[in-house]
Amino acid sequence: MKLTLKIWRQKNSESKGQMVSYEIDNISPDMSFLEMLDVLNARLILEDDDPISFDHDCREGICGSCSLFINGQAHGPDRRITTCQLHMRKFKDGDTIYVEPFRAKAFPVIKDLVIDRSAFDRIQHSGGYISVNTSGNTQDANSIPINKEDADNAFDAATCIGCGACVATCKNSSAMLFVGAKISQYSLLPQGKTEASRRVLNMVNQMDLEGFGNCSNTGACEVECPKGISLDNIARMNRELLKASLKK
């Protein structure tokens, strides 16, 4: 495959970036998108040029490290996958592919396609955990009866890998799908109920402090989420916050 790549290049967080065009040839349709970028980087290194920086780690859709806004869509033109799971067979020979970093005020660009997603970490630190004392007489989790639907919903919410595609694709750069999933995964289970009120108040407060936008229920996040996290998690978060605010 022969392709034209238009890639966002930015020296550092302070500098002004721009799209740079690269022609690339001999790309196998069976390569992953990140492998294609590896090939381009190998060439750039040989040419004594600065290789393109991009995030990646597990390369099997688990870690949530890879990002990239490809041809106007978070994680590219496929559903329920991360960029590392995207293959070049999704494109045609001669295509022009736009590759940009995830954009949001709360996700500043560090270099090229690498962004700072530590805002998500700070939201998690503010309440995305349970404080169960696990030493001593801890009850076996399997002996606690949990409604099947609640368990399924909690597990579905827990599949969120925190990649940030929801923020990147949202026209308002809202992080409510991420925060809604993190709140839901605990609030639905008895272990997470103890500090449910404090959790939702703190996490929503931190989300607002980070400068994410407001959700307007376009549903784009749900469509682009590689794990199919549902908008119902946002509705649950809204209910939890209202309940917690009244209880406080």
């Binding site: 736009y98 954009r103 949001a104 400068g211 936008g213 376009t218 549903g219 978060m237 809204n238 605010s245």
Partner: protein
């Protein structure tokens, strides 16, 4: 003593609700509440207006009641105006905040791949509705206020139907009226279900909300357009 405790609890509760309403979700909920209030108003407005098509007397009777009832005129009407202003001001405030949060534009976007045109353009359909409302106020509300509270004209319970029909004799006005209602329909097609989602509607009701939303969002504006076209063509 007990009164002081009650006042203290009330002030604390107000403070807590203030924190809630200032949060991003609180603003969403407030926006949704004002939207639901306006949708209920729109429904009652339609139910009164549709009577003009089949009975001049019923329409006159209902309009006279609404135009002279103390509760409607001096309690509900100011609440309605406040609700309209709040909905528009909040819409602009949220739009500005959201634009600040996005900050950078993508070189290439494909919004249509994951969301509807209506959901992405609420501010634009809202602006058309706002311009329509200004015209509607100039056309109906201000003359009505002048008639009753400035000129102190004599009470005439049979004037309403005639006045309504007269307003719909200008084809340009009928066209703009219908155009605005098409935009209102697009606004509601997203706004109806969005407002209920913002209120935290349980997913068990998602499909019912969607169906009800389609019926309301298409049926109601179509009904308003029908009333305007009917009076234009039959008088």
């Amino acid at each position: 003593m007990s009164n002081n405790v009650l006042v203290l609890i009330f002030v604390l509760q107000l403070n807590i609700m203030k924190n809630f309403l200032l949060s991003s979700i609180g603003k969403k909920v407030a926006m949704a509440l004002s939207a639901i209030f306006l949708m209920i108003f729109l429904l009652q407005h339609f139910l009164i207006n549709i009577t003009s098509v089949f009975s001049e007397d019923i329409f006159n009777m209902l309009s006279h009641f609404m135009g002279t009832n103390f509760l409607v005129q001096f309690i509900l009407q100011p609440i309605l105006i406040a609700g309209v202003i709040f909905h528009f001001v909040m819409g602009f405030v949220l739009e500005i905040q959201n634009r600040r949060a996005t900050k950078y534009e993508y070189q290439k976007t494909r919004g249509g791949a994951n969301s509807t045109w209506m959901s992405r353009n609420m501010i634009w359909s809202g602006l058309v509705i706002l311009s329509f409302l200004i015209l509607h106020f100039i056309d109906f509300w201000i003359p009505e206020m002048e008639y009753k509270y400035i000129d102190f004209m004599p009470d005439d319970p049979n004037r309403y139907h005639h006045e309504l029909v007269e307003k719909f004799q200008d084809p340009l006005k009928v066209f703009f009226y219908c155009f605005s209602f098409i935009l209102l329909s697009l606004h509601l097609l997203h706004g109806f279900s969005s407002s209920l989602k913002s209120m935290g509607t349980n997913k068990a009701y998602t499909s019912s909300v969607k169906t009800l939303g389609y019926i309301y969002s298409i049926g109601l504006p179509a009904g308003f357009c029908f009333i305007a076209i009917f009076h234009y063509l039959t008088h």
